[in-house]
């Protein structure tokens, strides 16, 4: 019996409830659960509407618009009033179910909600994909809810549940077509995810055995009292768990194999969001729970290896989605690099990089979907000359591709500049050098796609019944969704100053976990 302060006979929860009836706390009680409840309820309704696809589409889009609005309001609230906390059910922390949004979670929530909305529109616009399945919309909304819980939960076990909600939805989405390839890669993906989840559960069991709590704010204090060896073992176990989820070296092997077989919108949202939820979890646990464990060097080594292996893998590929999937791995390295520096500037760079990467990567996969839609294949050797026949798609690829490589004046340049400056400030020359070399290799691999898809002629005869002459046209909703994302990415570059300031404030909060702890537990 290590859990203290709660006896089963005492009427707990009354105090907190009374406090929460007025003022900003009351607003938070409603606002904080909204991004979770709205998609979940809508998923239920949507499932009942399986005979009415038009209604499902309207419902899904409307709910996601509402979630985007709620997330933006939440971000503004958190930015002005500080960390927002609510105890679901009125039981005070650390007993109750804590929802908490600091600046970092609010930023991730806004970006995530916008991506979910835009990709949903793209999926609706794409003819003949799995979106026509009556189960696509409910499952997709469950995925959105799972991602929202991950960002908002203040409890390690709820983080596990959130991962499961999100992953279960992703299992269904990735195998929804039921084709041979999808089943083959789906198996790998599902088994790897479950193994990681079992490890997560093991880690939670051990953490509870050692500290007697799973509330993260409470853990922050109690873990500090543990012997160093126990604490670092727990920290490394959690690092392995989240390392599998977000595909850092050497646990990345499942990602480039499983993502490309899913339909384009599904791959796009997976690429944009799912691995980044893992990054969020790593940053949250390492800064809040294990801040003084000296994992910085280990993280930097992992970051460098992830960058190099990912980009080399990408160079060896011949399929546009497989190239982009390997780049996800490579880019994760940059985010871990920012964390590994363990400075406010480094974390600010990591946050800015994560936001930039989510937008750019999602838009690149959407463009990849457009290319497959127009050319009938994603294989570079069977594509060619698309710059002339579909110039808009060419432009839509070029802008995020250059941004991914980190060329000025795009968002990737801003984010990489922030990371590299942070690295130079602490004399981490090796990782700075590695990241610069990897940037150059990224550019090389992007030019490979450009040369294969948009210039020249196909090396092998095209097998599909595509017209070999004349302009190609894609459905306007697909193009519209992609244009929106590319515009957002350019917007990040234009608003680089305010965006960096926001990331820096979020990073400052992460590096001073006492604020978070006090907001959750009360002083």
């Amino acid at each position: 019996m290590s859990r203290t302060g709660v006896s089963p006979d005492s009427p707990i929860g009354v105090r907190k409830t009374r406090e929460g009836l007025t003022g900003p706390a009351a607003a938070m009680r409603i606002l904080l659960p909204l991004p979770i409840i709205l998609p979940l309820v809508a998923a239920g309704i949507s499932m009942c509407l399986f005979r009415r696809p038009a209604l499902q589409r309207v419902l899904g889009a409307a709910v996601m618009v509402a979630v985007v609005v709620a997330s933006i309001v939440l971000l503004l609230q958190v930015d002005t009033h500080g960390v927002a906390v609510t105890q679901v059910g009125g039981w005070p922390a650390p007993t109750g179910i804590t929802l908490v949004a600091d600046l970092f979670s609010a930023i991730m929530l806004v970006v995530g909600a916008v991506m979910v909305l835009v990709v949903l529109l793209y999926a609706i616009g794409q003819p003949g994909t799995s979106e026509t399945s009556p189960w696509f919309h409910p499952i997709y909304l469950v995925l959105a809810a799972g991602v929202a819980i991950c960002f908002l939960t203040g409890d390690l076990f709820n983080l596990f549940v959130a991962f499961e909600v999100m992953l279960s939805a992703s299992f269904v989405l990735i195998t929804l077509g039921g084709t041979k390839d999808q089943v083959r890669t789906g198996m790998t993906y599902v088994v790897i995810s479950i193994v990681a989840s079992t490890f997560f559960l093991t880690a939670i069991g051990l953490v509870y055995a050692a500290t007697g709590t799973v509330n993260m704010a409470d853990l922050a204090g109690r873990l500090a009292d543990l012997p160093d060896s126990v604490r670092s073992a727990l920290g490394l176990l959690l690092l392995v768990v989240f390392g599998v989820k977000d595909a850092i070296f050497p646990l990345f092997f499942w990602l480039p194999d499983s993502y490309p077989t899913a339909p384009s919108p599904v791959t796009a949202i997976f690429a944009g969001l799912l691995t980044k939820v893992g990054v969020y979890a790593i940053i949250r646990t390492q800064t809040l729970l294990f801040p003084d464990d000296g994992n910085g060097t280990l993280l930097l080594v992992l970051a460098g290896a992830t960058m190099v292996v990912g980009v080399l893998g990408a160079i060896a590929q011949d399929d546009i989605k497989r190239i982009l999937s390997f780049h996800i791995v490579s880019q994760i390295g940059y985010m871990i690099m920012g964390l590994g520096l363990f400075t406010v500037a480094g974390l600010a760079g990591a946050i800015l990089y994560t936001v930039h990467h989510i937008v750019v990567k999602t838009s690149l996969f959407l463009v990849g979907g457009l290319v497959e839609h127009l050319g009938g294949t994603g294989l570079l050797r069977r594509l060619g000359g698309m710059a002339r026949r579909a110039p808009l798609v060419g432009a839509l690829f070029l802008l995020p591709a250059l941004s991914l490589a980190g060329l000025p004046p795009f968002s990737g340049f801003v984010a990489k500049l922030a990371l590299i400056q942070a690295g130079m400030a602490v004399d981490a020359w090796l990782i700075v050098g590695v990241s610069l070399v990897v940037s150059a290799l990224t550019l090389f691999s992007m030019t490979k796609i450009w040369g294969g898809v948009f210039w020249g002629a196909p090396e092998e005869p095209v097998l599909t019944a595509q017209p070999s002459e004349g302009r190609l046209r894609a459905p306007s909703l697909m193009v519209g969704a992609t244009v929106t994302l590319v515009a957002i990415s350019l917007g990040i570059a234009l608003a680089a100053g305010p965006a960096y300031d926001l990331s820096r404030r979020a990073a400052g909060d992460l590096m001073a976990p006492a604020v978070y702890v006090e907001a959750v537990l009360g002083s």
């Binding site: 019996m1 290590s2 859990r3 089963p8 006979d9 076990f157 596990f160 549940v161 499961e164 279960s168 299992f171 269904v172 195998t175 039921g178 041979k180 089943v183 083959r184 890669t185 789906g186 198996m187 790998t188 599902v190 088994v191 479950i194 193994v195 989840s197 079992t198 559960l201 093991t202 939670i204 069991g205 051990l206 509870y208 055995a209 799973v214 092997f253 480039p256 194999d257 497989r322």
Partner: protein, 123 residues
């Protein structure tokens, strides 16, 4: 009692890991289920010694059992149940397509194997 449970946890993890490394999906599913059982048992173990039921006004004297790990284990069991059913459905789908539930090598592995094979023939 705690030692026995701890040994059981270890045995479940070991068996689960062994089955996980097999190629048939059915064995992998059983392996995952065993590992999940191990994890659930570990959660119970994390709650410390057994005690009287943690109800309000439930009897007198004696230490109360820690209810939280039990709640956690219950949640985890439900999740494992759902995910295992999905895996079984996937194994069945694989069997319908292929008459086989073997987990195949990924594209990259097959490509490397092909290249190695070709090089061997050339030399």
């Amino acid at each position: 009692m705690i030692v026995v449970t701890a040994l059981a946890v270890g045995a479940l993890y070991a068996l689960g890991t062994y089955l996980l490394l097999q190629r048939q999906l059915t064995r992998i599913v059983i392996g995952l289920a065993l590992m999940a059982h191990g994890a659930n048992l570990l959660l119970l173990l994390a709650g410390g010694r057994a005690g009287r039921p943690p109800f309000v006004g439930g009897g007198d004297g004696g230490p109360v059992a820690d209810p939280l790990p039990q709640a956690l284990a219950l949640t985890a069991i439900v999740i494992t149940f759902g995910v295992t059913s999905f895996l079984l459905a996937l194994a069945y789908r694989s069997w319908v397509i292929d008459r086989d539930d073997e987990v195949e090598d990924d594209v990259e592995d097959r490509r490397i194997a092909r290249l190695a094979h070709r090089r061997e023939k050339d030399s």
